[in-house]
């Protein structure tokens, strides 16, 4: 309780500072969204009183988890700036612990922020918190991670690239890369996490109709390069290296699998093709070097989309309950090299 209080005090202080700063800040070169922001700010503060007040946004985030997450959260923080008319409080989870997220969420509700962005570390167990926000009339927007069971009445919208669709894309690439089929192995995230289930469903949706692809197994490597390497080295031995495709559910695990393949004396890309999801810089570098074969982007840069949604909602507009962020794919070293210079994460 003490922690929450000091923390809240800190937030209040920051807000005060931000207010002072906002008074000095001039205008900035505006594209469409910036204009939208400005009108949004005006609309939001007309009821509240003096103009120039920032919209307070509480971001219940995941925190350090990997390159993708870092890019995503940085993008959101860079988008919801004071210049754009926002006062964003960033609250990452402690060691991916849901309890710390719920505590942060609750204190945002108690402070009465204008809107909450939520990236849940775990899908289940959010009903009570979301109901409280609803009672306090604070709109909640889910960023990337969904909740389970999914109940769109509890939140305004979920903005995310679609894991199902992205995983389908990976599977379809596999069909074209190995027309005659082969054995595949899946490196999963931690058992029970929503993303893992969605990515598995997308992959299986395609592979279910293709008996020439044989699943030799699936194991969790907890999103970790080190564990993926250790797991896959054993998987290769258990199957006498007879695995043609690895479906790694994030870049880090794909890189670990590539190390294991190399260590077994095989050549990634030729003997074993590794496909990953996320599209971080190290993965694209590995793709350019031929160590990975396919990287499906799971676009983390949707701060702009989120900002537009926030403004629409605060103006009283309606949005779809699921906004899919478009994602690209990289299927060759050349494509990776092309994308690398502009890659931000």
């Amino acid at each position: 309780m003490f922690r929450t209080k000091t923390w809240a005090a800190g937030v209040a202080l920051t807000a005060g500072l931000a207010l002072a700063l906002a008074g000095c800040s001039g205008d900035d070169g505006g594209d469409d969204t910036d204009t939208g922001t400005d009108t949004g700010t005006d609309a939001g503060t007309d009821d509240g009183g003096d103009s120039g007040e920032l919209i307070s946004v509480g971001f219940v985030a995941v925190g350090p988890e990997g390159g993708w997450r870092a890019a995503n959260e940085k993008n959101i923080q860079d988008t919801f700036t004071e210049e754009a008319g926002f006062d964003l409080s960033y609250a990452p989870a402690t060691n991916l612990d849901q309890a710390s997220q719920i505590a942060a969420f609750t204190s945002f509700v108690d402070e009465g922020v204008d809107v909450i962005l939520l990236s849940a570390t775990e899908g289940s167990g959010w009903e009570d918190s979301l109901t409280r926000a609803q009672e306090a009339e604070i709109p909640v927007i889910l960023i990337d991670r969904g909740i389970e069971p999914d109940d769109p009445s509890l939140y305004v919208t979920r903005i995310a690239p679609d894991n199902f669709v992205v995983a389908q894309g990976v599977a379809e690439w596999a069909l074209s890369a190995l027309p005659e089929g082969g054995n595949y192995f899946t490196l999963e995230g931690p058992a029970g996490v929503g993303v893992v289930n969605e990515r598995n469903r997308g992959w299986d949706d395609v592979m279910g109709d293709h008996p020439e692809f044989v699943k030799v197994g699936a194991q969790t490597a907890n999103w970790s390069t080190e564990e993926a390497k250790s797991v896959f080295e054993t998987v290769l031995r258990a199957n006498n290296n007879d695995i043609q495709i690895v479906f790694a559910q994030n870049d880090e695990m794909g890189l670990g699998a590539a190390l294991a393949v190399e260590e077994a004396g095989l050549t990634p890309g030729e003997d074993v093709k590794i496909a990953t999801i996320d599209g971080t810089k190290p993965a694209l570098e590995a793709l350019a070097a031929g160590r990975l074969s396919f990287v499906a982007e799971y676009n983390p840069l949707f701060g702009q989309t989120a900002l537009e949604v926030v403004n629409t909602v605060l103006e009283g507009g309606t949005v779809d309950s699921y906004i899919i962020v478009p994602s690209g794919t990289f299927d060759s070293p050349e494509a990776a090299e092309e994308a690398l210079p502009s890659r931000e994460y």
Binding site: G63, P64, E65, G66, G67, A70, T94, N95, L96, E188, P190, A191, G192, V216, G217, A218, Q219, T220, N222, W223, S224, T225, E226, E227, K229, S230, V231, E233, T234, V235, R237, A238, E252, L255, G256, L259, E263, A264, G265, P282
Partner: protein
């Protein structure tokens, strides 16, 4: 009970009484299970591309290296009737420091840079351990609480060091630690064994082992005999921190990436299990570094077996827990036998017992 017995059955009984006996049995059973799935499981081949030995057994040995390190440190701490929950986090700190340094060093791929990274990691690990030790020995905080706080603080520190990123670096010498081979054997296992042997030698050849155990068995009597527990405790926790730092480097050098939230995650549990499997008791007063090594090997074997058998991810924790539980039950039975033959008296009776103990003198 002390008389050496020549019969085979008596010798067998003696072996069965060794606490880590069941650990060895469990390792063998797991290997047998793997053999049933694949008759060539134990085969060791020469990798044609680089001439190194390769095989499941070598994989197990490599995977056991970090656990061996933390289990060795943990066995010393537990012998003093303490516990060190911070080892996993210290691993992450050490990994973070070495990766961050190698990424930003002037000549990142030189041997010098690797050595500096190693020295910095071990130094920081020992420093964190010393801090825990001082809190336990001088301030008198409970080891569990102290190291729990250090566990949280350590992971936080790792994140600060890398600014929350998973840092990657390139340095062939550093990478060699985990991936290199000497005479066909993995360097990381040879290093781990060498370090364990050195620690055992130091502890057994100096009076450290005896004094640690003495503190663990009877802290009051040890104090009355002039042992200064503070210095010993600080030494032990510092050693545990340094060994955890080495484990952290083993872990990150295999992939040259530190994952601040995953490196060493929950390895303190593996270490505690290894020590207990090896015959340590959380009540302290028993030191069996050899037993802890058996425990570490068992845990590595178990991890590898889970993957080899293809146990589904969701069932993995239950599978591991079941194996460990069965092992402990076997050991408990064993302990009960021991009790039957030794029969300690209830403490409350000792006053009276002592007055008449002359009967037996």
């Amino acid at each position: 009970m002390n008389a050496p017995s020549p019969t085979l059955s008596a010798r067998l009984a003696e072996l069965v009484r060794k606490p880590f006996f069941w650990g060895i049995v469990a390792i063998l059973l797991l290997l047998v299970v793997n053999l049933l799935k694949d008759p060539t499981y134990l085969a060791i081949r020469v990798n044609p591309s680089n001439g190194n030995l390769a095989g499941n057994v070598l994989d197990i040995l490599r995977a056991s290296a970090p656990i061996l390190m933390v289990a060795t440190g943990m066995s010393l701490v537990i012998a003093t009737a303490g516990i060190d929950l911070s080892v996993g986090s210290v691993m992450a700190v050490a990994g973070a420091v070495s990766m961050e340094y190698l990424q930003n060093a002037g000549a990142p791929s030189s041997l010098g840079a690797a050595l500096v990274a190693i020295a910095m990691s071990i130094g920081l690990g020992a420093l964190l351990g010393t801090f825990s030790g001082l809190l336990v020995a001088k301030v008198g905080l409970q080891p569990f609480i102290t190291t729990l706080v250090m566990m949280l603080a350590g992971r936080g520190l790792a994140k600060v060091i890398t600014s929350g990123q998973n840092t990657t670096a390139t340095n062939e010498q550093f990478r060699w630690m985990a991936n290199g081979y000497v005479l066909g054997f993995p360097v990381v296992f040879l290093l781990a064994v060498a370090i364990v042997l050195v620690v055992i030698l130091v502890v057994r050849r100096s009076a450290l082992g005896m004094m640690i155990v003495s503190i663990g068995i009877n802290p009051r009597a040890s104090r009355m005999a002039g042992i200064k527990p503070a210095g010993l405790l600080v030494t032990v926790y510092a050693l545990s921190g340094a060994l955890a730092a080495i484990a952290g480097m083993f872990a990150v050098s295999s992939v040259m990436t530190v994952d601040v939230s995953q490196t060493g995650y929950q390895l303190e549990m593996d270490a505690i299990l290894a020590v207990v499997v090896g015959g340590g008791t959380l009540a302290g007063g028993r030191l069996s570094m050899g037993g802890a090594a058996v425990g570490a090997l068992l845990i590595a074997t178990l991890d590898k077996t889970v993957v080899f058998l293809g146990v589904p991810s969701s069932a993995t924790p239950a599978f591991k827990a079941t194996v460990i539980l069965i092992l402990f039950l076997l050991q408990a039975d064993n302990v009960r036998n021991l009790l039957r033959s030794r029969r300690p008296r209830p403490a409350s009776l000792t006053e009276t017992v002592e007055t008449k103990a002359s009967v037996a003198a």
